[in-house]
């Protein structure tokens, strides 16, 4: 019997790996991928709670569905932005995008 904590620790580790990728890598597409990893970490936590909690059974799953939908939307927009940006500048490094610098 796997305790709930282990799922949560897995989610944490996955979340921070994704987070590190977001912070450390420069390529915008890779950053989007890392965000997906972070979302997955959250999903794991949600499903785990749903499975381990007597209240509100199934709620976690419902939320996961919403997360899926939003993730899809986000990827679609994010990648579209990335491609548009690439067309404009031939560049995909986040630190190269500084049109908005104050």
């Amino acid at each position: 019997m796997t305790p709930l904590q282990h799922y949560l620790i897995l989610a944490t580790v996955l979340f921070f790996i994704g987070g590190w990728g977001v912070l450390a890598r420069r390529n915008i597409i890779l950053i989007i991928m890392c965000i997906e990893l972070m979302l997955n970490a959250i999903n794991i936590a949600l499903v785990a709670f749903s499975n381990y909690s007597p209240h509100g059974a199934g709620l976690g799953e419902v939320f996961v569905f919403f997360v899926f939908a939003l993730a899809a939307a986000e990827v679609a927009i994010g990648l579209a932005v990335a491609i548009a940006q690439y067309r404009l500048r031939e560049k995909l490094g986040v630190d190269e995008l500084h049109d908005m610098r104050g």
Partner: protein, 165 residues
């Protein structure tokens, strides 16, 4: 309901972590993307361990099927750079690594010391239950989400469309 052996969880968890690290650290974007696909599949395995078969199926369909393909297309549409690893990591990567590591340890410690109920219900609600939740109690958010998706599609098309010269 079937009871899975704990070992299965550790194997899958190990895979998830390894592939995730792969995503972050491969130089080649295609390699990263492939690693991500594998990671998603492992996550789907975790869902099965948690008796969330519907989610697992959706995970495979949406993440492995749709999102990953989308990302791979995007990678192929853009020319990615080659060079040494330093070029791929931003200046703050070491600082971020330290920070992330510390945060992970603290979180793990906190979670480890927390007192959660440790027995699984060992079963998840019927799929009908989920359907009822989504289409009755959460019908409005559901509609909103569909709207968001619609907007996202339109937005993506607009953004990706080549401007007329």
């Amino acid at each position: 309901m079937t009871e899975f052996s704990p070992t299965a969880f550790y194997i899958l968890a190990f895979m998830v972590v390894v592939f995730a690290i792969g995503v972050v650290s491969f130089k080649n974007l295609i390699h990263s993307a492939l690693s991500m696909v594998l990671c998603f599949i492992a996550v789907a395995g975790i869902y099965i361990l948690l008796h969330a078969e519907l989610i697992a199926a959706a995970q495979v369909l949406i993440y492995v099927g749709a999102i990953s393909i989308l990302i791979i297309f995007a990678i192929m549409l853009t020319r990615h750079r080659t060079g040494d690893l330093k070029l791929f990591f931003s200046r703050q990567s070491w600082l971020a690594l330290v920070f992330v590591a510390v945060a992970t340890i603290v979180f793990t410690a906190v979670l480890g010391s927390a007192n959660y109920r440790s027995e699984s219900l060992a079963q998840n609600p019927e799929d009908e239950k989920i359907a009822e939740l989504v289409f009755n109690s959460y019908a409005f958010p559901f509609e909103v989400v569909s709207l968001v998706l619609l907007v996202a599609i339109v937005g993506a098309v607009l953004l990706a469309k080549r401007e007329k010269q």
